[in-house]
Symmetry: C7
Subunit: 100 residues, 7 copies
Amino acid sequence: MPQLSKTIVPMMDRVLVQRIKPQQKTASGIYIPEKAQEALNEGYVIAVGKGTVTQEGKVIASELKQGDKVLLPAYGGSAVKVDNEEFLLFRDSEILAKIL
Amino acid sequence: MPQLSKTIVPMMDRVLVQRIKPQQKTASGIYIPEKAQEALNEGYVIAVGKGTVTQEGKVIASELKQGDKVLLPAYGGSAVKVDNEEFLLFRDSEILAKIL
Amino acid sequence: MPQLSKTIVPMMDRVLVQRIKPQQKTASGIYIPEKAQEALNEGYVIAVGKGTVTQEGKVIASELKQGDKVLLPAYGGSAVKVDNEEFLLFRDSEILAKIL
Amino acid sequence: MPQLSKTIVPMMDRVLVQRIKPQQKTASGIYIPEKAQEALNEGYVIAVGKGTVTQEGKVIASELKQGDKVLLPAYGGSAVKVDNEEFLLFRDSEILAKIL
Amino acid sequence: MPQLSKTIVPMMDRVLVQRIKPQQKTASGIYIPEKAQEALNEGYVIAVGKGTVTQEGKVIASELKQGDKVLLPAYGGSAVKVDNEEFLLFRDSEILAKIL
Amino acid sequence: MPQLSKTIVPMMDRVLVQRIKPQQKTASGIYIPEKAQEALNEGYVIAVGKGTVTQEGKVIASELKQGDKVLLPAYGGSAVKVDNEEFLLFRDSEILAKIL
Amino acid sequence: MPQLSKTIVPMMDRVLVQRIKPQQKTASGIYIPEKAQEALNEGYVIAVGKGTVTQEGKVIASELKQGDKVLLPAYGGSAVKVDNEEFLLFRDSEILAKIL
C-alpha cells in the first residue's frame, strides 16, 4: 500500500481506493505484454470518510477501514491522481465485497 | 458448492452467488454442444453481507444464508472472478426466490 | 394449478404466478390455430413471499395468497422455468387486481 | 354501468374504470361515422382497491367509490378485458377529478 | 370566470384552471389576426382538490382557492374539455405564483 | 429594482427574480453592440414564496428575502412576463448564492 | 486564495470553490504551452453555505470550511465569474475529499 505525501480525507461516505495493478511478468520472470495483462477488480482501501450522513444528520460509519482488500465494481468511481499515482474515490456502498 | 481460497464478505445487502452450470452431457453420457446447453437461472448463495443498512443506521439481515439455492434474474449482478471461477454479486432484493 | 416438484419461496414482496393458457379448441371442439389464440392477462398465484420489508425492517404481508386468480399487467415480471413450465415472478404491487 | 359476471378487486390504490363510449348517433338519430366520434375522457369507477399502503403499512382509503364519474388522463392505465368489454386500471392518484 | 354545468372536484392536490384567452382586438377595436395574438401564461383557478395527501395520510390544503388569478407554467397540465371549453388540471405545486 | 403594477406571490419555495441586464455602454459612453454585451448571472429577488412545505406540512422559510442580490444558474427557471418585463421564477434551492 | 471585492454566500449546502490553475512554467522557468498544461482537480474552498436543510428543516453544517484544499470531481459544478475570475459552486456532497 502506498505512503502518500499528503493526507486525503474522503468526504462523507467516500473511500479512497487503489486498484491492484495487473501482473507484468509471469512466474518465471517473462514480461507480459501490456495488452495481455488481465485487469483486476481488486484494490486496497487507502482512506475512509467519516461515514454516511443520514437525513437526521446522524453519521453511520463505513464497514471498511484503511488497509482492507476489496472487490471493486467494473465501472464507476472518480479517478484522481495523487503523487503521480492513480486512485479511485468510491461511495462506500459501491464497493462489492471485502476479501479477508 | 465451491470452497474458496479466500473469504469474500459481501458489502451490506449484497450476496455472492454462483450460477449453476448448464448440463454438458445428456443422461446417457453424450456431450451436448455448448450452443445447445441451456443457460440456467439457478444458483447457490456462497456468502451473504451483514444486511441492508436503513436510513437510521439499523441493519436488516437478509432472508438468505450461505448454501441457499436461488432463482436468479436474467440480467444484472456484478460478475467477479475468484480462484478463476465466475461469481456474481447481487443485492439481496434482486434475487427472485429461494428453492427448497 | 400445477403441483411443483420443488418448493419456490419468492423473495420479499414477490409472487410466483402462472399465466392461464389461451384456449386451444372452440366450445364445439375445433382446434384454434396458435396465431388466433387470444393471449390472456389472467393467472394463478402459485406462491407468495413473506411481504414488503419497510425502511424500518417491518414486514407488510401481501394482499395475495396461494391460489388467488389475478389480473396481470401486459408487460413486466421475470420469466422463470420450473419443471419445464413457464412461470412469472412479479412484485406484489405490479399485480393489477384479484378476480373473485 | 356494467354488471360484471365476476368480481374484480383492484390491488392496493388501483381503481377499475370504464371509459364512457363516444356518441354514435346525433340527437336527431343519424349515425356518426366512427372516425368522427369524439373520444371522451370521462369514465365510471367500477371497483376500488383497499387503498394506498404507506411505508408504515397503514392503509389510506381512496377518495373514490364505486359509481363515481371521473375525468381520466389522456394516457396511461392498464387496459384489461372482462366479459369482452374494455376496462382500465388506474392508480387512484392518476385520476384527474370527480364529476358531480 | 365560467359557470360550469357540472361540478368538477379535482383529485388530491390538483387544481382546475382556465387559461386567460389572448386579446382578440386592439384597444381601438381592430381585430388582431389569430397568429399575432400573444399566448398568456395567466389563468383563473376554477376548482381546488382537498389537498396533498402525505405518506402518513395527513391532508395539506392548497395555498390556492377558487377565483385566484395565477401564473401558469409554459408546459404541463392535463387538458380537459368541459361544456365545450378548454380547461387544465395542474398539480398545486406546478402553479408558479398567485397574482393579487 | 422594478415597481410592479401587480403583486406576484410565488407559490411555495419559489422566488421571483429579475436578471440584471448586461451593460449597454462602455464607461466612456460608447454603445456596446448587443452581441458583445456579456450575459450576467446576477439578479435581484423581487418576491419570495412562503417556503418549502415538508412531507409533514411544516413550512421552512427561504434564506432569501425581497431585494437580495443573487447568483443565478446558467439554465433553468420559468420565464414570465409582467408589465412587459422579463422575470424568472426559480425554486429557492436552485439559486446558487447571495451576493452581499 | 483570492480576496473578493464582494462577499458571496452560497445557498444551503453549496460551497464556492476555485480550481487551482495548472502550472504555467517549468521549475527552470520555461513557459509550458497552454495545451501541455495539465488540468488539476484540486481547489480551495472560498465560501461555505449554512448547510444541508433536512426534510424536517434542521440544518446540517458542512464538513468543509473556508480555506480547505479539496479534490474536485472531473465534471459538474456551476461556473460563475466574480471580479473577472472563474469560480465553481458545488453541492457539499459533490466534493470528493479534503487534502490536509
